[in-house]
Structures are given as C-alpha cells and as structure tokens.
C-alpha cells in the first residue's frame, strides 16, 4: 500500500538529499564564534557587512516619510563618506514605489516582501497579484514566504509549484524565498525546504531564513544548514543560490560570526552582496558604531548614530 503521510514524504526527500547531523552542525557553528578577527580584517568584515544589509522596515506604522528617511540612510549610512551604501531597502509592497522614488539613481535595490507576508495565508491568486503589483511599483527583489502549512502536511509538490508560480510572476526581479525556519521545527525540514526552493528558483535568487515576525529567527545553526544545502546544490548542479539570514542579527559581532560561516562553508565567492545578505534594521547602527570605534579608538555612544531613540 502506498504510504501518503507527511513523514513518509519527508523520508523520501531526505533519502535523496541526505539528512542533517544536528549535533555536528551545533558543534561546527559553536567554533565560528571563537575566530579572532582584529584590526584590518575586522574593518574589512564590518564594511562588507554594511554592503550586505537589506535595510528593513516592516511595521504597520510605516509611512512614506519613514521610508524616505530609511532610503537616505541606505544611500549614505553615516556622515563618514568612506562608508559604503547598503545592498537594498526592504519594505512592504505599498511602500515599494516610495522607496523606488527616494532611491533615485543609486544602485541600491528595492526589495519588497510579498505573498501575504508574514503568514502567507492567502489564496495563491492573491499572493501572485501582490507580487506583480510590487514588481510593477519598482521592486527589484521580491521576498516571498513559502506555504508552511502545505510543507508540514507533506504536500511538497504544492509548495514547489507555488514557488515556481512566484518565480514566473517576478519576471526580471530577483526572488528571495523565506522558509520561516522557526515554523519548520527541525534541521531536516529546513534542509528539505531549502532544496524544494532551490530546485525551482534561478541562479542569483536567494533562500532566506525568517520573516523576523516570529520568536526564533536567524541563528548560526539554521544559517549553517541552509549554507550547506546551497553548497551541496551548487556541487550537484553548478547553480549558485544566495543566502539571506534575517531577524535577530543586531550586533556587529554577530554579523562577523555569520560571515565566518559563509567564508568557511561556501568560500570567498559568496562574500558579496550578490550572494549573501543580512535582513536587519538595527544591525547597521551597530556596524557604524564599531567602524567608528576602529577608526577613532574610542568606544562610541549609540546616540551618535541615527535612529537610536534612547538619549540616556
């Protein structure tokens, strides 16, 4: 008799792509935090991290004015001209046209979340219409969420078909597929979902950890599982997929740990904002703060940098 349960479907997929050694992953990533990165290499890493940021605002209270100031900050993060621009500004679809307007001729991309972000719980037709609207409003990149309900029920074909439909709706815009790892429960599921997505997206598209709207976001552990999936997929197919951890990365130190993971898993070819991004809102200020500290030798107060509300 044909077994149709969710666990059987996952078992068949894992037979093909191989399971994750949880203990091994946790031990591996624990080592990343012990690398000694100082002086020149630290400055290089901090600057690189700035260029990889998708500067994000995803709140109900977003206004065109707030997006405008975010765009100005994206173009020139600090009064120090030697600090590079960020990679992209990430907003809700209704704000995409405002971001497009304020970014003007700069090379910074407009990224828009779509497909009923963050839950994805809307009819496929609605989700695709949202993607098309965002692209029409000037979004260079679309951040979609996968159908976690379908994934957990074992309906992998449906998950994949929906992603493929979104790829088509994106047209020339790049796609980032949010797996929402906190809702996938296990490393095996994360690896499986990564492969489902990678099999239908294009070279230069991304897989992304989280929406940032749940309790558990990007960690070194789930980042590592996804990086290894990208590596294995690349070795099999020669298609290079990008990676974007998002949510919970707030300090420069964390960002450097993530970059160490990229360097030691995928190598230098992925140390570019074409293949690696940070989805973050407060990370940029801490990076600027640490860059300034490296430059002047003096620890900096957070209120010297924009959008630090506390003045104490």
């Amino acid at each position: 008799m044909l077994v149709r349960s969710a666990s059987a479907a996952l078992g068949r997929l894992l037979d093909e792509i191989g399971p994750v050694d949880c203990v091994g992953v946790e031990e591996r990533v624990a080592k990343y935090t012990t690398r000694s990165i100082k002086k020149g290499s630290k400055r290089w890493g901090l600057q690189l991290a700035v260029t990889m940021i998708d500067l994000t605002t995803l709140e109900g209270k977003d206004t065109p004015g707030k997006v405008a100031s975010l765009c100005r900050k994206a173009i020139q993060p600090h009064d120090d001209q030697s600090i590079p621009s960020v990679a992209a500004v990430c907003v809700y679809p209704s704000m995409a046209r405002h971001a497009r307007k304020h970014l003007g001729t700069s090379t910074i991309k407009v990224a828009s979340v779509a497909t009923a972000f963050p839950s994805g719980q809307a009819p496929l037709k609605t989700r695709l219409a949202e993607v098309r609207a965002a692209v029409a409003d000037g979004a260079d990149e679309i951040d979609m969420v996968i159908n976690r309900g379908a994934f957990l029920a074992g309906e992998f074909a449906r998950v994949q078909d929906e992603i493929a439909a979104v790829v088509e709706a994106c047209g020339a815009s790049a796609l980032k597929v949010i797996l929402e790892v906190s809702e996938l429960e296990t490393f095996d599921n994360i690896r499986a979902a990564s492969f489902l997505a990678m099999e239908v997206i294009r070279a230069g598209d991304f897989i992304k950890t989280s929406t940032g709207k749940t309790s558990l976001n990007a960690t070194l552990g789930n980042n590592q599982v996804m990086l290894e999936a990208i590596r294995d997929f690349y070795l099999d197919t020669n298609i290079a997929i990008g990676m974007k951890p998002a949510g919970g990365i707030r300090t420069a130190k964390q960002a450097l740990h993530f970059l160490v993971a990229v360097k030691e898993t995928l190598g230098d070819a992925w140390l570019t904002n074409k293949r690696y991004r940070f989805g973050a809102s407060s990370l940029l200020n801490d990076l600027l703060r640490q860059i300034e500290k490296e430059k002047t030798g003096a620890y900096q107060a957070p209120y010297y940098f924009s959008e630090a509300a506390e003045s104490y």
């Binding site: 030798g297 003096a298 620890y299 900096q300 107060a301 957070p302 010297y304 506390e310 104490y312």
Partner: protein, 287 residues
C-alpha cells in the same frame, strides 16, 4: 575533625550580577600581614564597555523613579551597610585599618549614604528655580541627570572614598561605573554584595576592580560616559582631561585627603549639582 576551608572567590558587581573579568585575568591580593588573600578580577576595557552598555539600559528606568523612591533606596543601602557593619569593619582591619579607624570609616560611610538619601527629594528645590524674565513667560529651570558617569575611586579611604563619590551621582538618577581602589579593592566587593540586596536596580552602580593605568584611557575616551568623578594624581588628571575633551565630557576632581573625607565639608548638595544638566523652559503666559 577539622573542616576544609571555604574560600570565597571575590567577584565585582557589574550589570546586576557578580562577574569575572571577560579576559579571565586576575591579580593576587595580599592582606595587611602580607599573606595571600585572594585573586581579584583584573577588569579590562571590554568589561568597562559592557558595564556602560548595561548602565545605559538601566539608566532611564532609574531616572524615572520618583525622587522619594531613590531616597528610600539609598537609605536602604545604608541599612544594609549597618546590618553588616561588623563584617565590613573586619574587612577594613584585615587590609590595614586599626579597629577604631575601621569602625569610624564604616559609620561615616553609612552616615554619608543617609545624608544623600535625605537630599534625594530636596536638591531640586534648592538647585532648580523660577526665573524673573521681562516678557510674558513663566521661566523655570529644572535639573536632569546626565547619564552614565565614571568614577575613579581613591586608594584611601577605600570604602568611604568610593561611596562619597558614588552617592551624590546616583541620587539624581545617573548611573555609575566605578573603578574601585586599586590597592584595596576588597571593600568594593563587599559593597557590591550590599548593593545587590538594597533594592537598587541592577546596573545602576557597577563596580570594577583592576588597574588604573589600564582602564583610565578608556574611561577618558568612551563617548557614552557623560562625566567623570575622580580622585587622581597629576598624570592621571592629564590623561582624563585630554581623553574627555574629544567627547566634551565633564571631568570633576576631588582633592580631599585623609581625615578630610570624614568631615561634614566633604558632603554637600553641590556634589549632586556637579553631575546634573540644567534645563530652562520659557512657557508663554497671558500678558
């Protein structure tokens, strides 16, 4: 059968908990007889940085407490010191005080806390003002705490000197990172244990142990410290002033020595004023 000795690991009170230095370094401390007493954590500039981050988080909550409540908490700290008076006297004796001098220092310290506890809900009436102006405005000046303040405590008196510098700073809602006496750090460890049980929110007072020459440059240049209160020699004073200039930090030196710390002249509302910002408001009124 004789018991095995239970020796204590001295740990400074930073960020509301008792820490070892992030560096793992310690330095050996001998008591007055020259016998080894304990290894004291040798805090680094990173410990200082972490302490400042913690203090900045605790600061707004502490400043929002009512003046009355801050007074209560300082009084409660004095109660803790009074309750453990014998232990503190024993500590001071172990590190070189005579018994009577130690008792005098502990009592003076308790009294100093009570003194500033009393000022908590009174200094505003003395230092704030309504100002006469020649226009239809109600013009008034109120005080606000500065933020995170650094303290460099004297070697002697180790306890009274430290508390005399800290109390007038925190009473107005500032937070403090203090470097305890380099030569006699152990009383600050005991003081930390009292702070932890005194209703004072964690991170409002952070006590580091370590070496002046290692930490003073960071105290001077860290831009998040808004002011420094120090007892320091000429070389340290210059280092503090030069480093503080870059971030326009207020630097205040105390010149007291020996018996002068015990006199009533050593306590004053002006010690509170030294770490306040004044805000003047012009409020329009009908002519």
């Amino acid at each position: 059968m004789s018991r095995l000795p239970i020796t204590k690991t001295p740990k400074p009170y930073v960020g509301g908990s008792f820490i070892r230095s992030e560096s793992g370094r310690t330095f050996p401390l001998a008591d007055a007889t020259g016998a080894f007493f304990a290894n004291i954590p040798q805090c680094t500039r990173k410990d200082l940085r972490n302490a400042i981050e913690a203090a900045a988080k605790a600061g707004p909550g502490w400043a929002k407490r009512t003046a009355y409540n801050r007074g209560q908490i300082l009084y409660r700290l004095a109660e803790m010191l009074e309750a453990r008076r014998d232990e503190m006297i024993g500590t001071l004796v172990r590190f070189g005080s005579t018994k009577s001098a130690a008792a005098k220092e502990v009592d003076a310290t308790t009294d100093r806390l009570i003194y500033y506890a009393g000022w908590a809900d009174k200094y505003e009436q003395v230092l704030g003002n309504t100002n006469p102006v020649a226009s239809p405005h109600f013009n008034f000046t109120v005080t606000e705490p500065m933020g995170v303040v650094g303290v460099i405590a004297p070697d002697a008196p180790a306890l009274l000197g430290l508390v005399s510098l800290i109390a007038p700073i925190i009473v107005s809602g500032n937070t403090v990172i203090a470097l305890a006496a380099e030569k006699n750090p152990y009383p600050s460890i005991i003081l930390g244990e009292m702070l932890a049980t005194s209703d004072l929110p964690g991170s409002v007072v952070n006590l580091l142990t370590g070496f002046r020459r290692e930490l003073i440059p960071t105290f001077a240049t860290h831009t998040h410290l808004r002011a420094i209160s120090a007892v320091a020699g000429p070389a340290d004073r210059q280092a503090l002033r030069l480093g503080a200039a870059e971030s326009v930090k207020r630097v205040h030196f105390t010149d007291l020595e020996g018996a002068a710390w015990f006199k009533t002249e050593a306590e004053s509302v002006y010690a509170i004023r030294d770490f306040l910002e004044f805000k003047t408001t012009w409020h329009p009124i009908g002519a």
